[in-house]
Amino acid sequence: MKIHAYERIYLALCAVLIVLGVIAVGMSVFARGVHLPAPHGTILAAEAVKTAPFDNLGLTEVAPGEYQMVMLGQMWQWNPLKGENPNGKDITIPAGSTVTFTITSSDVVHGFMVRGTNINAMVIPGQITEVTYTFDKPGEYLVICHEYCGRFHHKMWGKVIVS
């Protein structure tokens, strides 16, 4: 098959571009340790509130500087975070802490995102989502629901305060 010289050069450049892209992505995984959410077990959504660990929502220190945050995505609260819910409570952790968020949904699909970090994971009823992140910089981190979850989806948020 005859291919024009310009075309061959162009295709070669494309190949180089793609290879470089794959290398960059590979480095982000293997050198920088960025990992996508992986399966962490399943759960019966209708009974999530009664099922461990979601029967005990909130922050626990599992080791010095290491926390586990158990949360439930619900229309329309990242339970137990505050957001616009008077009974909720935002969490405070010292800078440098590593937090593992363990989340599920008891109703519809939600999306878990923390602004200014690369925390970004879907929260799907029936599935358990787990993400780990080390908060090095102090500040107020906005926790947002980024998947449409009904009429007041934009009222589903909260804060992680790193002191």
């Binding site: 098959m1 992986a38 994971a121 029936g126 599935q127 980024h146 009429r151």
Partner: protein, 611 residues
């Protein structure tokens, strides 16, 4: 290399002056009206959808649009967004593909479609689908967005409407294949006209792609919405949706590629760069569009890492045909510009017909699509996806792809297609040039706003103006979104007005379908490219390889059933009569019988005759 001389459509008689004057009589009237009607439906969808888009863009700076007592009774942000998504991503794109690629098939084969019934049926079912889905959407019964993620559930009429819209596309595909068979009987051993090849492959790709959403809607969502089952597995239905959901973007894009590859060169006075390369590009889309869908689920908890990785690699493969396209189109344009006296490195650019509204629309669409391709590669890049997934970056990205590259190309095509169909001259062509620039400038501002916000964590699909958590830093990106949205809407209004006036104002003139010839003709020694049946089977095998393990894994540890709910009801479970089961099955049965009878008639019908 040996190449045979190529004259666009191989069997085309020289266009006869008389036939050209009454050019819509080139094909039978009863086939032209459903094509026009289908296109008209798409224009209505564009007009209404665009207005809702304007409200969404303005909401960012004026939340009271939705939040004051006078309007909040009638307007809900997410209801509007559901309408916007359905009207533009489904109705507008499907109806255009149906009408445009039916006409190109007829033009390429120089004969009417095999079945007038299928052609008219496609329009009728599409229109019925719009009515059914529209009823549910307008009455607040389907605020589920066009992605319809379970366990959120809409009124059954929404799903029935969506189903009919998809069925309307299948009818076109069937009609194309039947017409191809008629043509082949009379032209044994000849390469298929390139225009027909591209039109048919686009639909074959979509036939495979739409299996996912068909199974999701017919198998899970309709039964759930009528209360036959009261729980579904959300991870499974999401996966079925994205089986279709990535490839659907190529079903939006390929009609635009048909125009860019095969018609634009003619419109700028040039030729197609290479016939075989064009065929290879379309075959690559057929093969690799579907087995990439998991790249929309990188952040899903229920999909194993190795499968996400596998789909990352197939996604890279699907970038190749688009990269080739960038080259082929540029060279076709450059050749055309040079043949009109363009000199030097860039001297060919001004020679491309910037005064022709159809050409300007599409040139700007192509330029914008470069940014669309780049942002698409960003989205697909595995870990980088975590930065942008479900943020406003994504609407930024797809308004320059489907919202511009495709939408502007459709508008550009309509600038000759509507005159062709009506026999009227285009009303005020200069306005069309203005609309093209206005829309492109608008969308670039709009997308800049959305992407900027998205990288800083602004979520998509959110009534941003009403969100109390909104930090000060997002204000500028909201303002850009609103300003861009206003410009886009003005352009859209000009376009719809032009179409309306072209139809209404009697100003007779001849318009022909632009079909370009290739510089390098089809390869005589390799007819393998035309063996569509084999490519189709190979595509199917690739899908089984990519999705077989996914569904196998989901079946084994894919999570459990979750009760379904209506979105606007909060925690309240669905309350529907449980005895709807027989009614639903009766409905399915009626549809199935009607389909079988129709098919029977079509298959036994007379073959089409050359025009």
């Amino acid at each position: 290399m040996s190449s045979v001389p190529y004259t666009g459509s191989m069997t085309a008689p020289a266009p006869d002056k008389v036939a050209a004057r009454a050019n819509w009589r080139e094909f039978p009237k009863e086939q032209i009206w459903p094509i026009g009607a289908q296109l008209g439906l798409g224009m209505v969808a564009l007009g209404l959808g665009g207005l809702l888009g304007l409200l969404q863009a303005l909401e960012r700076v004026r939340p009271e649009i939705y939040e004051n007592p006078a309007t909040s009774k009638y307007l809900d942000y997410y209801q509007g967004l559901s309408l916007h998504g359905v009207l533009l991503a489904l109705v507008f794109t499907f109806t255009f593909a149906n009408s445009f690629l039916s006409l190109t098939t007829m033009k390429a084969f120089q004969r009417p479609m095999r079945s007038t019934l299928l052609l008219q049926g496609s329009f009728v079912l599409g229109a019925l689908g719009v009515v059914l889905a529209g009823f549910a959407l307008l009455t607040n019964r389907a605020n589920v967005l066009y992605t319809m993620y379970a366990p959120m559930t809409a009124h059954v009429s929404f799903y029935l409407g969506a189903t009919l819209l998809v069925v309307s596309t299948w009818l076109v595909s069937l009609n194309q294949v039947l017409t191809l068979r008629d043509w082949r009987k009379e032209h044994p051993g000849e390469p298929m006209p390139l225009l027909a090849f591209a039109s048919i492959v686009s639909f074959l790709m979509w036939d495979l792609a739409s299996i996912g959403i068909a199974v999701e809607v017919l198998g899970f969502l309709i039964p759930a919405s009528v209360g036959i089952v009261n729980a579904v597995n959300p991870q499974l239905t999401r996966t079925l949706f994205w089986f279709t959901g990535h490839a659907i973007v190529y079903f939006w894009l390929l009609p635009a590629y048909v125009s860019w590859y095969l018609m634009m060169p003619k419109q700028v006075g040039g030729k197609i760069y290479s016939d075989s390369l064009t065929r290879i590009v379309f075959i690559l889309f057929l093969l690799f569009s579907v087995p990439t869908g998991l790249h929309h689920q990188y952040t899903d908890p229920g999909i194993p890492i190795w499968l996400k990785t596998a789909h990352f690699f197939t996604t890279i493969v699907i970038a190749v045909p688009s990269l080739i396209t960038a080259f082929s189109l540029m060279s076709a344009l450059e050749l055309a510009g040079r043949s009109h006296g363009g000199k030097g490195l860039f001297g060919w650019i001004p020679k491309l017909g910037w005064g022709n509204p159809s050409v300007v629309m599409q040139l700007l669409a192509m330029l914008t699509f470069i940014l669309g391709g780049i942002t698409g590669i960003i989205n697909a890049s595995y870990t980088v996806n975590s930065v942008v997934h479900n943020t406003a970056f994504i609407p930024g990205h797809f308004h320059i792809t489907v919202g511009t590259a495709v939408a502007q190309t459709i508008m550009g095509v309509c600038f000759w297609l509507v005159p062709y169909l009506t026999g009227n001259k285009l009303w005020q062509p200069k306005l069309g040039v203005a609309a093209a620039w206005l829309y492109t400038i608008g969308v670039l501002i709009f997308a800049r706003g959305q992407m900027w916000g998205g990288i800083d964590g602004m979520p998509r699909r959110s009534a941003m103006g009403a969100a109390q958590y909104q930090p000060q830093e997002w204000m500028l990106s909201n303002q850009l979104t609103a300003i861009g949205g206003v410009l886009m809407t003005i352009a859209g209004v000009i376009f719809v007005l032009m179409m309306l006036m072209t139809v209404l104002v009697k100003n007779r003139g001849v318009t022909e379908i632009p079909v370009a010839e290739a510089v390098i003709g089809p390869r005589a020694n390799w007819s393998g490219l035309d063996k569509l049946g084999r490519w189709f089977i190979l595509a199917f095998v690739l899908i089984v390889l990519a999705y077989g393990p996914t569904f196998w894994d989901l079946a084994r540890n894919g999570g459990r059933a979750t009760p379904v709910r209506m979105p606007q009801m909060g925690y309240m479970p669905l309350q529907m009569p449980a005895n709807m089961g027989p009614v639903l099955f009766a409905l399915y049965a009626v549809f199935a019988i009607a389909a079988l009878v129709g098919l029977w008639k079509v298959l036994l019908g007379k073959p089409s005759e050359p025009a």
